[in-house]
């Protein structure tokens, strides 16, 4: 396998927009191409993550439109990847594998989404399509509902009184808003308090409004190439050291999903390929679609023992400057969650952090960063490990 690096990265501001999904992606991709000091004709393939474009704009087969919008030639491979909220990470991992194998030399990978425009009712319905449509969705289960049940499962299993757990969950939101306030591309650039979270209306017991990430629009993209090409075009290539992907079926078959085998397997692949362990990771951009999700994933990725991550949050260990900086960008919670673009925005942040370009939210001395993206009910999990040294 060839050594693979990321050159330029690009991202739109997240939040409600009047741009189309094609425009959002093209803007992010052109920024990434320009930052790579290459021409659009150098791009051989375009891998596009997109979750719900069909429902958002009545638009299928988005990848070709994106390639054409960017002026890529007819011989360009353009493909959409769908893995619900992990779509862009699936696209990026596939770009990595195909560049590593020698099939392509330069690939633009990322994603786009315009979820905000659907409105709450249709958005809630379509987001729930990531749940088993035969055996689970007819209960009226929503995406917040999945994580609400996880919070009750977690509190009961580890004997943490629910009010205590809810306070620690609120601290996840407070931290991510604090980081997001320093990110000019974040949907919410405003700090909140634990009281703000605990005063919000209940979405699905015990999750309140500020336990949940928003519906968002946005695009993000990265240029993936070989070590040799990257060194010729950019000063600081960022290397993809490891990549993993796992899968799972219905929630009811996963049973106690405080432990997610698909996530554990995905992370294990990524760690093994990179030759590192959880202790070597300085920062991570992770899938905090809900506050409890961040707590549970910290344990599944091996950063904390099972049942202990909420206490670590309370102690401030996951803040910028703490033991491991979690979601320095503001995460899905504050930066926003345009489903199909989310994984690419996570990679965008880690690349910028490793290059020391994050200003007020910069994680000092970060050498290795990780991304974690969850699609559906852990049906698709992708982990990437990035570093500035090969």
């Amino acid at each position: 396998m060839r050594k693979v690096a990321i050159m330029g990265v690009g991202m739109t501001k997240f939040g409600p927009t009047e741009k189309s999904q094609v425009e959002l992606f093209a803007e992010a991709a052109m920024e990434a191409i320009n930052a790579s000091n290459i021409k659009t004709k150098d791009v051989q393939a375009l891998f596009l993550g997109n979750g719900l474009g069909d429902f958002e704009e009545g638009q299928l087969n988005l990848a070709g439109f994106c390639a054409n919008e960017l002026g890529l030639p007819p011989e360009t491979t353009a493909m959409r990847f769908e893995g619900a909220c992990a779509s862009a990470s699936v696209a990026i991992r596939n770009a990595f594998l195909l560049v590593a194998s020698g099939a392509y030399d330069i690939v633009v990978a990322g994603g786009t989404e315009r979820a905000f425009s659907m409105g709450t009712s249709l958005a809630t319905r379509t987001f729930a399509m990531g749940t088993d449509s035969k055996y689970e969705e007819f209960s009226g289960l929503t995406f917040p509902g999945v994580f609400a049940m996880l919070a009750h499962l977690y509190a009961n299993k580890y004997n943490i009184p629910l009010p205590k757990l809810k306070e620690r969950m609120a601290m996840v939101a407070v931290k991510n808003h604090k980081n997001g306030a320093k990110n000019p591309l974040a949907q919410f650039q405003k700090e909140i308090t634990v009281e703000t979270v605990l005063k919000g209306f209940v979405v699905a017991d015990p999750l309140q409004l500020f336990d949940c990430c928003p519906f968002s629009d946005g695009g993000a993209a990265v240029v993936i190439t070989t070590d040799e090409i990257a060194k010729k075009h950019v000063e600081k290539p960022v290397y993809i050291l490891g990549a993993g992907q796992g899968s799972a079926g219905s929630l009811c078959r996963q049973k106690d999903y405080t432990i997610m085998p698909s996530r554990i397997a995905s992370a294990k692949q990524a760690y093994k390929m990179a030759g590192v362990g959880p202790k070597d990771i300085n920062m991570a951009e992770v899938h905090d679609c809900f506050t409890i999700a961040e707590i549970v994933l910290l344990e599944n990725l091996g950063f904390y023992d099972f049942g202990t991550a909420s206490e670590a949050v309370e102690k401030g260990e996951t803040e910028i400057g703490g033991k491991i900086a979690i979601n320095p960008s503001g995460g899905l919670k504050a930066k926003g969650h345009p489903v199909g673009a989310t994984g690419a925005a996570q990679v965008y942040e880690i690349v910028k952090q490793l290059r020391g370009e994050c200003g007020a939210r910069q994680v000092e001395n970060a050498k290795i960063g990780m991304t974690d993206t969850l699609g559906g009910d852990a049906g698709t999990i992708v982990n990437l490990i990035l570093g500035i040294q090969k």
Binding site: R125, S139, H152, A155, S250
Partner: protein
Amino acid sequence: MYKLTYKQYFEALKEGKLLGLKCNDCGSYTAPPKLCCDKCGSTNNEVVTLSGKGVIKTFTVIRVAPEGYDAPYIVAMAELEEGPWLMGNIANVDPDKAKMDNIIGKKVTVGAKVLPKMNYTPDEGVTPAFIIAE
């Protein structure tokens, strides 16, 4: 190839019968059904009627509903006596009175609720409806 399709499972559930698969190789039960044993992957399974008894493991009250549903309502997961977990609704508890201590760990029997065909569904739907024992 299929011993029990989702449609056959739904039809039985509507009539109060909870069907599942019993694996002839490892002895474990799979419900709701799929092509192979959920534990060992064997396709050497037989269709069996399950007891329809279980215990609630977790729940939520949905307060922001998707298109086609009216909030509030309870969604829960129950562990059946035979081992599998099922996702369903809790039929006989007021959503506003549902708390961890009066739901989690409670014994239930499995009934069924039928939903009409909606947008993006191929047909009517059937979901387990758990009844908490008095």
